[in-house]
């Protein structure tokens, strides 16, 4: 066999691919499911924290800053391991899905909070003063004047972070979450051929390239009308 044939046989083996594609596909659904769940809860929690922080009372601000700093400093892998392996020792057990989802949600929340808070801070003070001077409450000002502008400013860092954190669903493999990469590695061991890893790579491209295109579309659509 020449080199090209060996490469094709090793990484693009159609026979192996045919045998293991149902496993890879099952993993794809898990990865998408956890990724979507993490995006929803992570952004929701992050936005809620940024809005609470905008109240500028130390009772909220100090714990939020501590949470955001710790969650951004720790490697997500360690957080997943703590939830899955350490928490059962104090009587809190959770599935691999829950441990991965919860960990990555907290990490995304920390980054989302920082992005949105930074955007809120960058808006001129006159924006909220103008709204309050016409009788809007703090909350109405937040919803109608501050958040629409802050979200637009925070969108590029937010979409980057959503993609980065969603990719970390692969870390769930350490707690035996049967996502794409984990299934691909098992299949690779069983088959003695790395073609399933090629398929996993293809699956990642198929999931995340459309996500990136969607993100870019949103960013373009929300540009300032000047």
């Amino acid at each position: 066999m020449d080199g090209l044939a060996r490469l094709l046989d090793t990484f693009f083996n159609t026979e192996v691919a045919a045998r293991y594609w149902p496993d890879i596909l099952a993993g794809v659904w898990i990865t998408i499911g956890v990724g979507v769940a993490v995006t929803a809860t992570g952004l929701a929690l992050g936005f809620a924290l940024a809005i609470l922080r905008a109240k500028q009372t130390p009772w909220f601000s100090i714990p939020i800053v501590m949470f955001a700093d710790i969650m951004r400093a720790l490697p997500p892998l360690i957080i997943i391991i703590v939830f899955f392996f350490a928490f059962p020792l104090i009587g809190i057990s959770m599935s691999a899905f829950t441990a991965t989802w919860l960990s990555l949600s907290l990490v995304l929340a920390a980054y989302a909070e920082e992005s949105l808070w930074g955007a809120i801070l960058s808006l001129p003070r006159g924006q909220s003063e103008a709204a309050r001077s016409t009788g809007l409450t703090w909350w109405q000002t937040m919803c109608a004047v501050i958040l629409p502008q802050a979200l637009r400013l925070a969108l590029p860092p937010l979409t980057n972070r959503v993609i980065a954190v969603s990719k970390n669903v692969a870390l769930g493999s350490v707690v035996a979450l049967s996502e794409v990469l984990n299934n691909a590695q098992s299949a690779t061991s069983t088959a003695g051929n790395p073609t399933p890893l090629t398929m996993a790579a293809a699956a990642y491209l198929a999931i995340f390239i459309p996500a990136m295109i969607l993100a870019r579309r949103m960013e373009n659509r929300m540009q300032w009308r000047v």
Partner: protein, 248 residues
């Protein structure tokens, strides 16, 4: 009715820590009156204005607007602020909303008007400032003078009892100052009560009912424009006006 005060400041004080920016201001503005406040930077003009709708919290004294004390506890400041329109030096239009969206936001959110009702009132307000044709335009596409006129429409659409202007022409190109002052004159002729912090001495002299000269956090002198500009009693007023009129 023209003698009843719409705004009354009694011994108004404001301090940031040890720094006293307002040292006991007493002032009454009658219904339909236009009062211009002039004075050097840091004299407390803007602080006084911003206390009148409690964007700044006064540290002492009382503020009465249209018969209601707004400084006491248990005051619904959001309800009161609808009676007090404010126009800022930097316009502070909402960049994500069209001119009409800017003008109608409080009508919809605070007054609970339907979109159709709010749009009709908003268009009428834009018409008063001569910008009915710009309703759909976003602030970024408007000139400074047009933005400030939209900001005035945003305030008057709530039919306030009192309008506060915080150096409304200071951020404008010289060629657009005139269009804003024209709108303010028309507003004054329609009977609006106005308190205007300004550096436009020509406007204060010709349009104001009364001019207040402030320095060092206190009112130094006040009176009709021809007295303040023609025969100022205090040395500080004279020195300030000489400096200003020598530039103009």
């Amino acid at each position: 009715m023209s003698s009843s005060p719409i705004l009354e400041l009694v011994g108004l004080r404001k301090a940031y820590g040890p720094l006293e920016v307002l040292r006991g201001i007493d002032l009454a503005v009658r219904a339909g009156e236009m009062v211009c406040v002039v004075g050097p930077s840091g004299s407390g003009k803007s602080s006084m204005l911003r206390c009148c709708n409690r964007l700044e919290e006064p540290t002492g004294g009382r503020i009465v607007v249209d018969g209601t004390e707004i400084t006491g506890g248990g005051v619904d400041i959001n309800a009161l602020r609808q009676k007090i329109g404010m126009v800022f030096q930097q316009f502070n239009l909402y960049p994500h909303l069209s001119a009409l969206g800017n003008v109608t936001l409080a009508l919809r959110k605070v007054r609970g008007k339907s979109a159709a009702e709010a749009d009709a009132l908003g268009l009428a307000a834009l018409k008063r400032v001569g910008l009915a044709d710009k309703a759909k335009i976003y602030p970024g596409q408007l000139s400074g003078g047009q933005q400030q006129r939209v900001a005035i429409a945003r305030a008057i659409v709530l039919q306030p009892k009192l309008m506060l202007f915080d150096e409304p022409t200071s951020a404008l190109d010289p060629e657009t100052v005139g269009e804003v002052l024209k709108v303010m004159r028309e507003l004054r002729e329609s009977g609006m009560t106005m308190l205007v912090v300004t550096h436009e001495m020509g406007f204060a002299r010709e349009a104001a009912d009364r001019v207040i000269f402030m320095d060092g956090g206190a009112i130094v002198e006040q009176g009709p424009p021809h007295e303040i500009f023609g025969a100022p009693k205090h040395e500080r007023t004279r020195a300030f006006l000489t400096r200003y009129t020598s530039w103009a």
